[in-house]
Amino acid sequence: MNEAKAAADRLVKAKRLNALLTPVKELRKALDAQATVARPTGVLYGMPVAVKDNICTLEFTTTCGSKILEGYRSPYEATVITKLKAAGALIAGKTNCDEFAMGSSTEHSAYGRSVHPLDKTRVPGGSSGGSAALVAAGAVPAALGSETGGSVRQPASFCGVVGIKPTYGRVSRYGLVAFGSSLDQIGAFGRSVHDAARVLSVISGRDPKDATCEDRDPLRLPTVPESLQGFVIGLPREYFPADLDPAVRRACDRAVRLMKEQGAAVREVSLPHTQYAVPTYYVIAPAEASSNLARFDGVRYGPRAAGAADVRALYRATRGAGFGAEVRRRILVGTYVLSAGYYDAYYRRAQQMRALIVQDFRNAFDRGVDLLFTPTTPSPAFKAGEKLADPVSMYLSDIFTVTANLAGLPAISLPIGRVKGLPLGGQFIGQAFLEDEMIEAAYALERVVPATEEA
């Protein structure tokens, strides 16, 4: 299959983005080997799919963008990888990401920051920034990422590609290195809604190896609808605050007008607990991370710090040297909010707030709204280094995406215009396991929205 060579060539051309962690030689060899065994009857036959480096593969190392897993080769592969291969896809290397998926800019990778494909001074978003940048640069038609708080949709918005986060339980997480287990989902990037959706359809469905994966058939791809007749789209007023960037508002207004022209009914709704979503997320996610990342201790796999006299000194030295600044911060914050005397004030409180955020969505959908439409991000891609010194300002770039993760709902980001030459995404948030409706609406909007025109 010549596709293997062509795929490798395209990826090599995108080297300046620092989006791919796999060395070129290894990439070519692995693509050749896969191409010779790929099933010609598979629905993704010959399609190169780049994979975020926190998803385990047998062909390539899995480092999660961290020094603590430098050179690590997983002894098993993720279910999503097995499913992609069975569909004839070629696993086209591993993509750069924020360390353990903790970050919104891909600057927190131990292997250097990835670069925005349109402006090298800017970030591609994160944490799945490498995947988004490669798809945007045309190096691969599709890629896998993972989401805990918006790590597929936010970089999709920044890079001008489509990113889908499925319902919690739609896709198996077997072989996804865990960050926040009650939030994590694997998602897909594509240059079009169709490319992202067909990858999602292939990786979705039951898996006996993951108890949180629902016992359901794979997602069936909807057809492209004639119009949006019959769709009721809700605009949550909390996602359009008075201080929203006017260009972002213009882009959303234009998208809404185009949806109305296609026959959609649009109404304003309220999700009153939205303002607490980011603080809720930044209690729950670090708490779960501090527990999940306890396994990286230099005992069973990965590099080990030399010279420790005692086993606990071994853990501390390995972890202290292996984790980067943001991961260390989150482990410490997570340990703090779970520690005696603080658990009720922080963790329990955040879990209660999460329930209220979930209820907000239920109320909106109960009132007859099919889908919600919002900006994906409050701004287009920011400058590299701009938010590094202030973790809280970095966290706030997830403000419109974390709610879908907290509520376990599906969401899709697609390009809706440019702001000062930079792409911007709009997102649909759907009802649990109704990805098909959400994808239909995205097809309809994608067809009419001038995605590369200034808003």
């Binding site: 002894p75 069973r300 922080y346 879990q351 376990g408």
Partner: protein, 97 residues
């Protein structure tokens, strides 16, 4: 909410994480800012009766409890930093805390 240097050291010990001495003041300051930011949750109007949300299937599905071969491409001996006679080798525990 102000996190002190000693707080960071105590938490780092719980988290089994070495933190370097010169980074401590900055870390304490950043943790204070993060914890200040999330502390707005305590001012939020939420009743104590709200039940925490747990995503995922309503009932956990159990697999048959049976012994099966471990389906790994390579064994632990090949990926562990130190492995001998079926065991992971580590330095001994100096003292219990």
């Amino acid at each position: 909410m102000s996190v002190t240097r000693d707080d960071v050291l105590r938490i780092a010990r719980l988290a089994e994480l070495d933190v370097d001495e010169e980074g401590l003041p900055a870390l304490a300051e950043q943790m204070s800012r993060i914890l200040d930011y999330v502390a707005q949750l305590s001012a939020a109007p939420a009743s104590e009766a709200v039940r925490p949300f747990v995503p995922g299937p309503d009932a956990i599905r159990f697999r048959p409890d049976e012994v099966k071969p471990w389906p790994l491409a390579v064994g632990p001996a090949e990926i562990a930093p130190a492995f001998k006679g079926g065991f992971f080798v580590v330095p001994k525990l100096d003292q219990f805390e």
